[in-house]
């Protein structure tokens, strides 16, 4: 019992992000409205970003900005500062997410002009005609 509680306390953040990811994933593959699919993609990407950033957390850590002269003179104690690498990676991933969303919105505009609707069923109906 105690082991299970410890496991929950130690990992619950990952589980929350996994649930969030799966909400986005379900929207991407299960929803029939194209905008909802796009929103699902954004939820998925945001959940991944949260997931990565949470790997950088250190209990009691400070932000990764140090005092320049103090650092040059005496060095930095790495244990007091959170891991900067996930932040860097996720800055890049955020930009990628923004770019994909922009392109997808442009494509959605084209689809709307073509078919007059963003419901997949109605588009398929129009295609078969």
């Amino acid at each position: 019992m105690e082991a299970a509680v410890n496991e929950i306390v130690a990992k619950y953040n990952y589980w929350i992000y996994v649930v969030l990811m799966m909400i986005g994933f379900y929207a991407m593959i299960g929803k029939r409205n194209l905008v909802k699919k796009l929103l699902g993609m954004n939820i998925f990407q945001t959940a991944i970003i949260l997931f990565f950033v949470s790997t950088g957390v250190k209990k009691g850590g400070n932000i990764p900005i140090v005092d320049k002269y103090q650092a040059l003179a005496g060095g930095v104690d790495a244990a007091t500062i959170v891991n900067p690498l996930p932040h860097v990676l996720m800055l890049t991933a955020i930009v990628v997410g923004v770019s994909v969303t922009g392109v997808a919105l442009a494509v959605l505009l084209r689809i709307y002009k073509e078919f007059g609707t963003l419901e997949e069923d109605e588009i398929l109906e129009k295609l078969q005609r």
Partner: protein, 494 residues
């Protein structure tokens, strides 16, 4: 220019020329062709020089920004990536001649945007084969994907919907890959491929490792349109502008197959991936189904280009299956098939581009009597078709031979039978097209007269002829290619 940075310039020159095309090409579109052809020619020669250096001195490890590998981003040029660089450069150069012509006709006024995306896509592909860093690979995967979404969506009519499907599927693939990398990062604390390969076997974390393998592989399979996940490919490549199809279709899936090989060989190590027999068995069955169903779905198509897109799905099955045979012959066949399939697909898509340029459509009904109108183009088509079927001495035969040998070595008869069936279906497929083109009654000529000779323009025809010749040349030089290059790639344990 020192030769230390040469392989990077192979990637950077197309990238810079893409920026230059956007800046200057918008106002003066006569600058586009020299910039595209010039930078790609540079890449061809640069990549050949790099390959020579790799074969002479062994793999190059390069650190961007002069930081030690686990801290900075490492680039690795080993024989496999050097070979892929040459392949990408050659295919991109040959395709760009044809693209320049068909884009000028299909998308007037948007050439500058098209070729900006086109050149960034090529630079991204070079980056993908160079990189030795798992996260960098994700960023480059997204660059190649975003440019492809844009290129596909530039097509008319249904292209936008095809592109949106591709965006959703491609994003799922990329997100899965990123998740897999995240799991490795939490376990090992590093992103460098060689470093991961060193640390991962020492950890005792079977669950998380298996999850990350599954997610990375599924992500890459979505991106390469492996069988159950192939839904986006036929529409995306079928409705893309012709000029985009000639370059995207031969390269994108093959580079992703390369990435899968790279991930298996130098991130997870084969010992870990093939430790469980059921994974390889399952993938081989999926590959066998991919091959048969891709070929049979192609039978139902009434348009040459859509037929070819389903053949690409089948060919992805060949290569994935070859890798998961997990023996030397299978891997040799898969790597050889990457080269051969890129050239065969290029040849066939260049034929499609030439026909579309002249008559606007490649539906089978519009190809009646095409042999009399475009004899040289169709001669190249016949050669490409023979290679796809696997008739010696064209290159398609040799890679299939290795794949079949690998299948027999591993005792995977389902894969061998699927290969044979698919070759037979390809015979039916291509001879149907050849029959329509050769014996089909000419469309009612009316006021045009009975036979009109309408060969493609020289800028499209000559690269096509060169590609067709390359099919035979590569086929005949299979022996040296395998002995000098591909044997170096196969790891010792195989």
């Amino acid at each position: 220019m020192s030769t230390t940075n040469l392989h990077l310039f192979v990637m950077v020159v197309p990238l810079l020329s893409a920026l230059a095309i956007n800046l200057f090409g918008r106002s003066n579109r006569f600058l586009i062709a020299p910039l595209v052809l010039g930078s790609l020619t540079f890449s061809v020669f640069g990549s050949i020089l790099v390959t020579g250096r790799v074969l002479r001195d062994g793999p190059i490890s390069y650190t961007v920004g002069n930081w030690q590998p686990p801290f900075g981003i490492e680039l690795v040029v080993d024989p496999l990536s050097a070979m892929m660089m040459v392949l990408i450069a050659v295919v991109a150069l040959l395709a760009s001649f044809s693209s320049l012509q068909s884009v000028a006709k299909e998308l007037p006024g948007r050439e500058a945007f098209f070729f900006t995306l086109y050149m960034i896509l090529i630079a991204g592909l070079f980056g993908l084969v160079l990189t030795g860093d798992a996260f960098n690979l994700y960023v480059l995967l997204e660059i190649t994907s975003i440019t492809t979404y844009g290129l596909v969506a530039m097509g008319p009519g249904r292209a936008a919907r095809a592109s949106f499907n591709y965006i959703i599927m491609g994003s799922i693939g990329a997100c899965f890959y990123l998740l897999g990398v995240g799991y490795i990062y939490i376990l090992t604390g590093t992103l460098n491929m060689a470093d991961i390969a060193r640390i991962l076997p020492t950890l005792n974390a079977p669950g998380a490792t298996a999850t990350s393998i599954a997610f990375v592989l599924i992500g890459l399979w979505i991106k390469m349109a492996f069988f159950p996940l192939h839904g986006w490919l036929p529409t995306a490549y079928g409705y893309a502008p012709t000029g985009a199809g000639t370059m995207v279709a031969p390269l994108m899936t093959k580079v992703t197959v390369y990435l899968m090989i790279r991930v298996i060989l130098s991130v997870y190590t084969p010992a870990l991936v093939f430790a469980n027999g059921w994974l390889a068995n399952g993938v081989l069955w999926a590959a066998a189904i991919a091959i048969v169903s891709g070929s049979s779905l192609a039978l139902g198509q009434k348009d040459l280009r859509h037929m070819l897109t389903f053949i690409i799905v089948a060919e992805v099955g060949y290569m994935v299956g070859g890798v998961f045979l997990a023996n030397a012959n299978g891997l040799t066949g898969a790597v050889l098939h990457i080269v051969n399939d890129a050239l065969m697909t290029l040849c066939l898509f260049l034929v499609v581009a030439a026909i579309v340029y002249r008559q606007g459509s490649v539906s089978l009904s519009s190809m009646q009597g095409i042999f009399r109108r475009m004899p040289w183009t169709m001669a190249a088509f016949v050669l490409g078709a023979l290679a796809m079927i696997g008739v010696p001495p064209t290159c398609g035969f040799f890679s299939k031979w290795y794949l079949i040998l690998g299948g027999i070595d591993g005792g995977h008869w389902e894969f061998v039978i699927a290969l044979v069936i698919s070759s037979l279906i390809n015979v039916v497929l291509f001879f149907r097209v050849i029959e329509i083109g050769y014996f089909g009654a000419l469309e009612d000529g009316g006021h045009h007269g009975p036979v009109q000779y309408q060969e493609a323009p020289g800028w499209m025809l000559n690269p096509l002829m060169l590609t067709a010749v390359l099919l035979v040349v590569v086929g005949l030089s299979t022996g040296p290619l395998v002995n000098n290059l591909i044997r170096l790639i196969v790891p010792a344990g195989f």
